[in-house]
Subunit: 499 residues, 2 copies
């Protein structure tokens, strides 16, 4: 055994421990009996601890040093590079800090659940202050050049910079806010009743899975769909993809679009090169790149006119009562309603990014200290008024609606919009191939899926999001493509004159 | 932290790793997508390896030494005693031997699958020879006083001795073979057609689970039932019990009695004292004691007249077509058919133990070298003729029917019969309490379950099977109770004059 073999064995063990922890977590959300929760959390803590201990051990550093002294194949070089990046970061945080953070997250999370239930921001405020204090300390421990936010977002979007995001978001805001104003001014006579027609869960499951396979390539041989309160995708290898959803029998878009969204995440993981198996490279490059895949399947494809032109007969066959008296065009219109609303996770393509920009701006201000936690609800509501023209009636549906900050996930929100932007930038690039464009226009996605596998999926974490974006699309991420996409689609839907 | 705390932390980690491995295994049998199998086996090997490494580390020995020098509470003393027993045993086998054994088991298992498919004992014979060679070497490494078999069975039935089993089995054989002869001579006019009536899987599931809860106390709050090809019970804590079954829609006893059997295993694990949580004490005392609980629920209770007198109306309510034109007595008779047959797992209460005695006798002879592997099929068929009066038409349904030997499980078979014997010995003791006896006779098992929890379940592995048996019943395990039970029940059913 060479030292490189030893390193790979060690990385394989870390990967296996983390797969076991992921399975425990999946099981907890899907099938675990309720009384098992207490011991399960101890078991999961053990696995997380062993995985962290094994990886941050001095021996890992020694094996990395040895590997870096040798000439390596491209594959091995990428494994060593990514492992070194993770190792450097993981060893910068002292165990005492990680333990303090974990405890604070736990406490903040429970405080948030309670505060949201009772609509009482004040009881949550001290916990939130502590989370931002810890975030500042974490940024200092990790180190950064330009902005402490850069040290935080790096966990979710390696190499991303607050300054770049700030400028892209400003561009996006300036060019889509007028569109939103024109849409809301235009009035809307569409009949959305079709979305609320009774639709049994089993039939929803059938069509969601059938199209996930037929349109997007998700096969039962390497995946499964289960039910959980909060939908998610997880996987324990590229041949063991798990997605979950929930069924609302009087609002089928929840499960259908939820499944296709998670299918985007799953197919990304499916496409990660087998050569990275059981190494730290074997995952999507970042949350943003991941979201570009899920949003592409859900919105760019699943909410396209071509999609329903092709698959409306399938809906008619599986759920004739739902499809009665409507047609593909009516369904296309119904699933593309633009309407400013309180809740991020229910927002449409046009308003969604304003929910994100608002959070990003507030995160920055809190981190910089220019906004005090006590003043956060007021700032939140002011921005909701500025962007979406609505004022939250309470904090539970306002500043308290998301779990993220209570879980210490600061710097996470922007990745949703980065993913939206990237989804169109990728699709536009792929469409430069006439066969792909023709396929997409007929809702035949085979050629597009092959392009994504080649230009996005296969690399895993061996490229940073920025490297991947430039290599795949020839440009850094920018707002142009997304802005043009929104204008073309929604000017058509709402009968607006192109600007 | 004291050294005792360190020891408990370490044992907790080992327990958590093994819970994670069990979950991976459960998932593999129930929900895992087929293509996930290859990586899953690597992941499971990592968990098994880490668990073994952590436990057999020198540090465990040092912490045990330190603990043994102190005065300990009864609970801690039992934890240290059981951990020491496991540690001594685990460290007696060199890693090189364990690896060789694992490889040989893998190869033998695959050879067995192939040999069984093609009914070709000869292709399996060299692998089986190797398994018995390895078993002899294992016995030498572990050490034994009287017989190498004692070193092997100790893995499944701590402290059991071949000589004691041999004499108990001989007694059982001599006193039940005449009964079997009288039954088969008596003729049988019972109508067994009711067992094959169409019974939808969902309805089978409903009644199986409803009675598992109502009769035996298995609650969804701490358990669940899933489907797998081979039924089993596993658990990841006493509040996370998983049982599986399979449904045959034209033979409902498979699932009903399967579920109640596994419920017996599950309720044993449920009853293990919470004070042993995440320690090596936190499991049933042995396979035999486990089987005494599963067989008690399945046979002594579930196949009793009182059971169907009480629950026949439930069957009528859930599956009226199945119950049409029969009554509790007819059902009682149908589920207690005695009929010599080829296959162990399908055998009834009277013939089952002959399948076990046969295997036990052959295992001993192979281990002692008085029987050659090449002569095994002939010896098997001869014993089948001697005990059950039938000759297997082929080896696939004869000597090749069980997975155990191919998996290196030598010394495992007797535990099934030890469990049968113990089940009646325990029930007879419990019935000395008039309230328990009255309950059992009305199929109200609450008082019996409480007795089992107090006298069997709570101890976990803190008592050996023999200690537990003597403490609970006042005697070592013997055949008297079981022999009397079989005579009383089947002389009645088959209208034989009591001997």
């Amino acid at each position: 055994m060479t030292q490189l073999d030893d390193l790979k064995t060690l990385l394989g063990q870390v990967s296996d421990l983390s797969a076991a922890a992921s399975l425990m977590s999946w099981d907890q959300e899907t099938y675990m009996p309720p009384e098992a929760a207490r011991v399960r959390s101890l078991q999961m803590a053990t696995l997380a601890g062993l995985s962290h201990e094994t990886f941050t051990n001095e021996r890992t550093g020694q094996l990395l040093d040895a590997a870096e002294r040798n000439t390596l194949s491209d594959t091995d070089a990428a494994i060593v590079r990514v492992a070194r990046r993770d190792y450097t970061k993981a060893t910068k945080l002292p165990t005492s800090f990680v333990e303090e953070l974990t405890r604070a997250q736990n406490e903040a999370h429970h405080a948030w659940i309670e505060a949201r239930k009772t609509d009482s921001f004040n009881t949550f405020a001290p916990y939130l202050e502590r989370m931002f204090d810890l975030a500042r300390r974490q940024a200092d421990l990790v180190g950064f050049d330009a902005h402490p936010y850069d040290a935080l977002i790096d966990d979710y979007e390696p190499g991303a910079r607050a300054e770049h995001i700030r400028s892209v978001f400003a561009d996006l805001r300036d060019r889509t806010l007028p569109l939103l104003r024109r849409i809301t001014a235009a009035g809307d006579a569409t009949d959305y009743g079709v979305l609320s027609r009774p639709f049994p869960a089993e039939a929803q499951r059938n069509i969601a899975l059938r199209l996930a396979e037929e349109a997007f390539g998700l096969k039962p041989a390497f995946s499964r769909l289960d039910v959980s309160a909060h939908p998610f995708q997880t996987n324990f290898s590229r041949s063991d993809l798990r997605i979950t959803t929930r069924f609302d029998e009087t609002y089928f878009p929840t499960s259908l679009y939820g499944v296709w969204h998670e299918t985007g995440h799953a197919m990304y993981e499916r496409g990660v090169g087998e050569r990275w198996e059981r190494t730290p490279v074997s995952r999507g490059a970042s949350l943003g790149v991941h979201e570009s895949q899920s949003r592409m399947f859900e919105n760019l494809l699943g909410r396209s006119r071509a999609f329903w032109q092709r698959y409306f007969p399938t809906l008619q066959a599986i759920a004739p009562d739902v499809a009665a008296g409507v047609d593909a065009e009516a369904l296309y219109r119904a699933v593309n309603r633009v309407q400013p609303s309180l809740i991020r996770v229910e927002a449409d393509e046009v308003t969604y990014n304003f929910h994100i920009m608002l959070r990003f701006e507030l995160e920055l201000a809190l981190l910089e200290g220019t906004l005090k936690v006590a003043d956060l609800p007021e700032a939140w509501n002011a921005k909701m008024g500025e962007y979406l023209g609505i004022t939250p009636p309470n904090d539970a549906d306002g500043v308290l609606q998301d779990v993220h900050w209570s879980a210490g996930l600061i710097g996470y929100f922007p990745t949703y919009t980065l993913g939206n932007l990237l989804s169109v930038q990728l699709l536009n690039t792929a469409r430069q191939d006439a066969q792909i464009a023709a396929g997409v226009d007929r809702a035949e996605y085979g050629p597009l899926l092959a392009w994504l596998a080649e230009h996005v999926h296969q690399y895993g974490r061996s490229l940073t999001p920025s490297e991947l974006t430039v290599r795949a699309t020839g440009r850094e991420l920018q707002a142009d493509d997304y802005v043009a996409y929104l204008h073309a689609k929604y000017e058509d839907i709402y009968g607006l004159k192109p600007e």
